[in-house]
């Protein structure tokens, strides 16, 4: 597609406490219909968005975490998580939920890639449009 651009959605906030994560996800889902080259970045407190076994009943807000796992169905297949942000918060890859998509051989493969800060900078530099939430 000739007018396809590289879109990066940068998620920097925890999933709850503010609405940024939820409304960012809404942009990603709507944006998926535009058939652009989409990536998501998770850094700073944004890495908490992908932590598995989230339960929100105690705070009375919608648990939208399952939506991340459906991103593959929307052709959103690249989720970059910053290693330093995980480590600074005492998290490892094992703390993150599984997000997968179907590859060309119809196998489910992980959409999550852990990258270091320098690589994240390269990923950002390679984009046409960076939406930061």
């Amino acid at each position: 597609m000739s007018d396809s651009k590289r879109f990066l959605y940068v998620n920097r906030k925890a999933p709850h406490g503010t609405v940024y994560a939820l409304e960012s996800l809404e942009v990603v889902l709507i944006g998926a219909a535009f058939e652009q080259d989409v990536s998501l970045a998770f850094l700073d407190d944004g890495v908490f968005q992908l932590v598995k076994r989230q339960v929100t009943t105690g705070i009375g807000v919608k648990n939208f975490a399952p939506t991340y796992r459906a991103l593959g169905d929307y052709d959103v297949k690249k989720l970059f998580v910053e290693r330093e942000s995980l480590e600074e918060r005492g998290l490892t890859e094992d703390d993150l939920m599984e997000v997968t998509h179907e590859n060309d051989d119809e196998e489910d493969v992980s959409s999550i890639e852990i990258v270091d800060r320098a690589r994240m900078a390269e990923i950002m530099a390679a984009q046409d449009v960076v939406l930061s939430f």
Binding site: D3, K5, Y20, V27, Q36, V129, F133
Partner: protein
């Protein structure tokens, strides 16, 4: 501003924070105004998250303070700016145009969208990213 060597740049502007609590809307306004003054194009200004609160006509700030909503409305009128408020974010926060007020049974006269703003979908944000040379996000 970066020296663009006389080139006209088509910008899209995204405002993610409301008026007064946060500087983002003021800075976005100054950026937009400066870009237009220098002959650049603004493809669209998109208001999202609490940024939709910039679009209520019901704010009445003290007279010795800037009026953020009025600044935007006047800039839009002067330059025929396309200022779009996200419908989903607006509905959560009580920003309604006449059609939406009617559709949700909020009564005559409850529409509060200010002049120059229009309510539409998130697709308008993605389209702005596709069409503009540069998309600039103002927020937290």
């Amino acid at each position: 501003m970066e020296d663009l060597g006389g080139l006209v740049v088509k910008f899209a502007v995204v405002v993610n924070e409301g008026p007064y609590t946060h500087q983002a809307s003021d800075t976005a306004y100054q950026f937009t105004k400066s870009a237009l003054d220098k002959g650049h194009e603004i493809f669209r200004v998109f208001f999202y998250h609490d940024g939709v609160n910039n679009a209520t006509r019901l704010t009445v700030p003290p007279q010795d303070e800037r009026n953020v909503q009025k600044n935007w409305s006047e800039l839009a009128e002067k330059h025929s700016l396309d200022m779009v408020v996200c419908i989903a974010a607006a509905q959560r926060r009580g920003i309604l145009d006449a059609d939406e007020a009617k559709r949700h049974g909020k009564g005559d006269g409850s529409a509060n969208i200010a002049p120059g703003f229009r309510i539409s979908g998130l697709g308008q944000l993605i389209e702005a990213g596709i069409q503009a040379d540069r998309l600039v996000v103002f927020g937290d």
